[in-house]
């Protein structure tokens, strides 16, 4: 998808956000202008119309993940859902214990919510995944303590796209009477989710990763067996007291429509995207010294994360301005550390710095992928021609054994 009007780069960053599907935008508009009522207004048709739209959207969220609509709580997005789930559940069940388990590769909205719990007196284990990004089940079992109250593991990783074995992890949590939260922000419309079967207590959703609008999300809160959470936002007692605040009707309508489209089109769409991923993978791994980050099989088709050895991350990003991607390099983010996710997989700083996350989606075309492959081939060649490390590698020098003047 190239925006010719502004000569924008080709969008290959669907894991950061997705464009709103035009069908979604169309559904939203009337709820900004004519049907502007407050869904909490019970005394007139403005309110009734809005409430009906909100409840219809709630049903759509529930349908996509095979849940009961009464198990869906609206939030402002997955960050809020994660905070509400982690702080809300650990506080409510704190009598059971004060130990939380999560993964070192979780999204910051989970990691930082757990850190906040630590500040409030909880203990936390941030488990390192295996080099392929997946959680080792035996190691997980041995991390559980009698006072473990909550486990939080994401379904699909945002940087490397790997899919964790939520069913197995959830069953272990059940056996140990532990609340299980899953961040599914990157999963909806990409993997099938069946909450009738999955032993999950709390699940976070986002609209804007699935062709809906930004600023809206939801938290699934299981009813059978009933899971209780302490609200983090106090006020008018909306959403059964779990999340106060006037509902953003138009946003919610958008999320509902986006999830309806995901439910109906996901199977066909994923086949198409899988073909694009395979094409991209084949093209890019023709380049020497490339490393795919994260398991290739247990992975959504939308993601490809690759490190290009012997080129430096920032100059690589400069070189590929024709495409919009994310990088594991510190230079593209606010922090100075390279990607903590890739570091947790055991990747060296150099490989973490030279990683690119390609994430594709509904509007990615064959020619987008072809352009990307050609661009990367040309630019990696050019940068390696400039790289003394590449020259040494080609001469057979073992770079690990060189004594570098660290500065």
């Amino acid at each position: 998808m190239k925006n010719k009007l502004y000569d924008m780069p080709i969008y290959m960053d669907y894991s950061a956000t997705t464009p709103v599907d035009p069908r979604v935008a169309e559904k939203m508009i009337p709820f900004i202008t004519e049907d502007f009522g407050n869904p909490a207004s019970r005394s007139h048709p403005y309110g009734w119309t809005a409430e009906k739209a909100v409840e219809n959207a709630r049903k759509e969220i529930a349908l996509l993940v095979n849940a009961d609509p009464r198990e869906i709580v609206w939030t402002s997005g997955a960050t809020e859902s994660n905070n509400l789930a982690i702080k809300g559940a650990s506080n409510f069940y704190s009598k059971k214990g004060k130990h939380i388990i999560t993964l070192a590769t979780e999204h910051k909205a989970v990691i930082d919510a757990v850190r906040e719990c630590e500040r409030l007196g909880y203990e936390a284990s941030y488990m390192e995944p295996e080099p392929n990004g997946l959680l080792d089940i035996e190691k997980f079992k041995s991390t559980i303590r009698s006072d473990t109250v909550l486990v939080s593991v994401m379904l699909v990783n945002n940087e490397i796209g790997v899919i964790q074995d939520i069913e197995t992890i959830g069953n272990i949590c059940r056996e140990n009477n532990i609340i299980f939260h899953v961040d599914a922000a990157q999963a909806t419309g990409k993997v099938k989710i069946d909450l009738e079967k999955l032993p999950v207590d709390l699940m976070s959703f986002s609209a804007h990763k699935t062709y809906g609008p930004k600023g809206v999300g939801a938290l699934y809160v299981r009813r059978k067996p009933r899971i209780r959470i302490e609200p983090q936002m106090h006020g008018g007692g909306h959403e059964r007291g779990m999340r106060s605040g006037t509902l953003a009707t138009h946003q919610i309508v958008g999320m509902g429509e986006a999830f309806r489209i995901a439910r109906e089109e996901m199977e066909e769409e994923n086949k198409r995207i899988k073909n694009l991923q395979l094409k991209l993978l084949k093209g890019l791994t023709e380049i020497e010294e490339t490393y795919v980050n994260g398991d290739l099989d247990k992975r959504v088709p939308h993601n490809l994360n690759i490190s290009f050895n012997y080129v430096e991350g920032e100059s690589l990003i400069m070189a590929i301005k024709g495409i919009a991607v994310s990088s594991g390099s510190a230079c593209t983010s606010a922090s100075l550390e390279p990607s903590y996710v890739l570091r947790a997989l055991g990747r060296s700083d150099e490989l973490a710095h030279s990683s690119i996350r390609f994430s594709i989606g509904r509007f990615t075309t064959d020619s987008d992928v072809e352009y990307t492959i050609a661009l990367l081939k040309e630019k990696i060649d050019k940068l390696r021609e400039l790289s003394p490390l590449w020259e040494m590698f080609k001469e057979g020098v073992d770079l690990e054994k060189v004594e570098w003047a660290e500065h």
Binding site: E314, E350, L389, W404, H407
Partner: protein, 126 residues
């Protein structure tokens, strides 16, 4: 990050990329930096019979500013004596390329690379 036009020019069209035979007696090689830090510069100078640097080449693994800093100094080095080369200061490089404060270390690295190359050449001449 916004780069100056000069950085972009050197990055897009780097001058004097390549290598000399580092074993030649009239070639001095300086290699500075470390992969883990994100910059490695290799700078080489070739001295003519008159004691003047007649050619210079570089290869750099690093950000755009590091590439531009090393590309720029290969241009400056040509025609200088070893002593004149040693006088090139990082501040002059940073000023010429309008490097932002977070990229000053790239110019420091380029200065270090010159010194290392000159030293290598002098030790060969002894």
């Amino acid at each position: 990050m916004a780069y100056s036009d000069k950085v972009l020019d050197h990055y897009e069209n780097p001058r004097n990329v390549g290598s000399f035979n580092k074993d030649d007696s009239n070639v001095g090689t300086g290699m500075v930096g470390a992969p883990a830090c994100g910059d490695v510069m290799k700078l080489q100078i070739k001295m003519g019979d008159n004691g003047i640097i007649e050619d210079a080449k570089f290869k750099t693994y690093g950000c755009g500013s590091a590439i531009a800093s090393s590309s720029l100094v290969t241009e400056w080095l040509k025609g200088k004596s070893l002593d004149q080369a040693s006088e090139i200061k990082n501040s002059a490089i940073a000023e010429e390329l309008a490097l932002p404060p977070v990229k000053i270390h790239c110019s420091v690295l380029a200065e270090d690379a010159i010194k290392a190359a000159v030293e290598d050449l002098k030790s060969k001449q002894k």
